[in-house]
Symmetry: C2
Subunit: 372 residues, 2 copies
């Protein structure tokens, strides 16, 4: 068992053992029983079927509430450190699925303050600009404008701040240090920040003046923030937010997590066909040292980043995906073919996305929430 | 020499040695040379003449700037933990003197967030209500409405927050702990808070888009916040704020600092004549055990809280004050007389203040600054 990996909101390193994370964080696995329950609300999303969305907190509770007629709001977000990449889209697409299935309102937080505080090289102007660019990607996915509100922390702070203060008053430095691994060298803004990420979980309750359940779809790396939010909730008279976690979208280099800080191994939503082709061309695969060798012994789709792309997003048909897996294993298909097919799919997907992304500029103001 | 006293923004205990504070904090004494310089701008305020306003940082620098035609803004504030008492008025009256003499714009911060974060018994609703009540006392003192802006942190946070973030990014937990004495049990809001108190020092520079000098008149107990603000300033391209410190307004029990948390020893601006009479009647004085004894050996005005009240505010005439001092020393005047005279003066002062305070309700909105 590998204990060397690290998963926090600001650091994901090592080979992640996702089963161990469930233990470490104390979350619950989305088991077959839960999948069966979820399938009653609508067709299971591929990410659920494939165990990419694999862990939760209080999902059963929030479904009980829903069944009893108490609707929940969704809350997710983005740290606008740079351009959007495909890994971000995956979580947001799953969020849209939840919006569609449950008819849920969505609050989408752009943490321009966080990315400023945690990144020496970014100014607030940078993170704000990124936030607006990232918002185009969110809108392009087709969220319901009547039910979706996107806000930048610095533009919605007058609403968020009092909620954040209430949370902050209940969280000691000791707790923050234990949860996030802070030390004396962390800046005082970064120490406070988790209160701002907690606030939207209670936003609808504050705005409505009554408790409204909140479900947070997010990467499992964000869980730490919401452990804190959940601990504070009952002290403030709020419902604990429920969570539904997905695994990290893999890097083209075979690593755990696609990262904006490694642009060569990351496909951004604004990349053109040439860039996509080059990046996928250089991707880490499970291929053998030679074509002959591979035809003879087969490839290793389990470690192949190209296969992972199909698995996470580009091949939603389980049968076809299994066929691809088997064909690779048997040496019937070589890496070049897989890369070519994935490149075509990504190019097609992003060309369509980029069109909608440009159209989103017109719609932007309808989605943006600012302090009145 | 007494080293046992503590002076921080949240704790003032022990017998304060104000000379030692200058050493500890590394500030400069307002010496005769400085007093002479200040007297050229306008008659010296009694608090300057009497050494109540006694310490500074960069006051010479900001006067040089002023002499060279670069006007400064004033910034002071109030932690709205409860009603205003006379001790608060004293600093604000001195601030008004500075506004009058230098024609300076004033930013007045109501730290409703701070008092919420640092006081278990206060809600945000409490501290906001207090802030508006306290603002009436500020306005009643006659500040120029064209040059004076009062804001609550939670209502002006969208403007303050980006400045606070910039400060926070430059302050480590290590520094905050060293300056304020924080430990692991402090809540994460209180650790961040100093950034919010720093922000108004740079507000005019942000709003004007160019550096504007800022002078902060405050109790010496607030110096810690501005040591942090001053350290951060050059890293952010701002001028360091200059400071002018006054001593704490004494308690009626003879202690160092009048405190709202001890209502029996504190005269609030809303107290009626009866309450004032009772509080001053119970005040700690420098009297002897009997009238006979006192007529023979004299009283001790140096430790007498009634005399300190005259000294801080109610007897602006130095000659008369000296006469009172000598008369007490010589046993020519007894505590009862002094209490009676002070009671009359305080009642008269507060009756007039209370009228202006009620009239201030009409003017309130002209002074309040909120996010646009």
């Amino acid at each position: 068992m590998n204990n060397e990996f690290i998963v926090t909101p600001w650091e994901v390193t090592g080979e992640i053992d996702y089963d161990l994370l469930i233990e470490r964080f104390g979350t619950k696995r989305i088991d077959n029983e839960m999948l069966e329950r979820l399938s009653k609300y609508g067709d299971l999303h591929p990410m659920l079927r494939r165990g990419i969305t694999y862990s939760h907190r209080d999902l059963d509770w929030i479904l009980d509430k829903y069944d009893a007629g108490e609707k929940f709001v969704l809350y997710t977000g983005r740290g606008p450190s740079g351009n959007t990449h495909i890994g971000h889209l995956v979580t947001w697409m799953f969020t849209k699925y939840l919006q569609d299935v449950f008819g849920a309102k969505l609050y989408f937080q752009m943490t321009d303050d966080e990315k400023f505080l945690f990144n020496d090289n970014l100014t607030l102007e940078d993170t704000r600009r990124n936030a607006y660019e990232n918002a185009l990607d969110v809108i392009a996915l087709g969220f319901d404008p009547a039910k979706t509100k996107i806000f930048l922390d610095t533009e919605y702070i007058r609403t968020l701040y009092p909620i954040a203060l209430k949370v902050a008053k209940k969280v000691t430095f000791s707790t923050a240090r234990a949860v996030f691994g802070f030390d004396n060298s962390n800046n005082i803004g970064s120490i406070f920040y988790t209160s701002i990420q907690a606030a939207p979980a209670f936003l609808e309750s504050e705005l409505q003046g009554r408790n409204v359940p909140c479900l947070i779809p997010c990467g499992i790396d964000q869980d730490a923030h919401f452990r804190i939010a959940r601990d504070a909730a009952p002290l403030l008279g709020y419902y604990k937010p429920a969570l539904i976690h997905n695994k990290m979208f893999p890097s083209l280099m075979g690593g755990n997590k696609m990262s904006s800080s490694q642009p060569e191994t990351t496909i951004f939503t604004t990349d053109n066909a040439q860039a996509i082709k080059k990046k996928i061309g250089n991707a880490f695969t499970g291929g053998a040292v030679s074509a002959t060798e591979q035809r003879k012994h087969g490839g290793k789709p389990d470690v192949c980043s190209v296969f992972k792309y199909e698995y996470f997003l580009f091949e939603p048909d389980d049968k076809k995906l299994n066929h691809l897996y088997d064909a690779c294993k048997r040496g019937e298909i070589l890496c070049g073919e897989c890369k070519k097919r994935l490149t075509e799919r990504v190019v097609k997907f992003l060309e369509s996305h980029q069109k909608k992304r440009e159209q989103a500029r017109e719609k932007l103001e309808a989605f943006i929430l600012r302090d009145r």
